[in-house]
Symmetry: C2
């Protein structure tokens, strides 16, 4: 059986994962014609400063926030994560 | 263009989504031979009471918590969400 990863290892991996999630959000936002993340957030009732943190990968966002963003981008969780993990 | 959903509609939809996420966790936990969610949580350094809320769909969990659980279950985000959304 594979050695179980330490909490520290998982935390480090999660940091990289969070960055990829942010990059994926930015990629999808640009694909949908939004050059400004503030405009995208404003148009979709999402806090602009908060959304900026999500894209920079500096926030451990809640499932409800991710749900709202993916609804606004009209993409499923499966397709969103396909390119990440 | 499709009518944009109201915040209330998205919130209601999210409640149903959260329940499905919890049910999927339970299904995967049982598949991995854990009849007790407490034992699964204990073996994987996850708070037992907290994990119980996730399975009941009563907690808006953070991405880091979901990441840790899916690592423990050895399943990707894509495969986890395939059966949900």
């Amino acid at each position: 059986m594979a050695r179980r990863k330490s909490i520290k290892e998982i935390d480090t991996e999660f940091e990289a994962f969070k960055t990829k999630v942010g990059e994926r959000m930015k990629e999808l936002r640009l694909e949908r014609g939004y050059n400004s993340y503030e405009q995208f957030a404003f148009d979709n009732d999402i806090g602009r400063a908060q959304y900026g943190k999500y894209e920079r990968g500096s926030e451990d966002l809640r499932l409800s926030s991710l749900y709202k963003i993916l609804k606004a981008m009209d993409i499923s969780f499966t397709d969103f994560f396909k390119r990440i993990n």
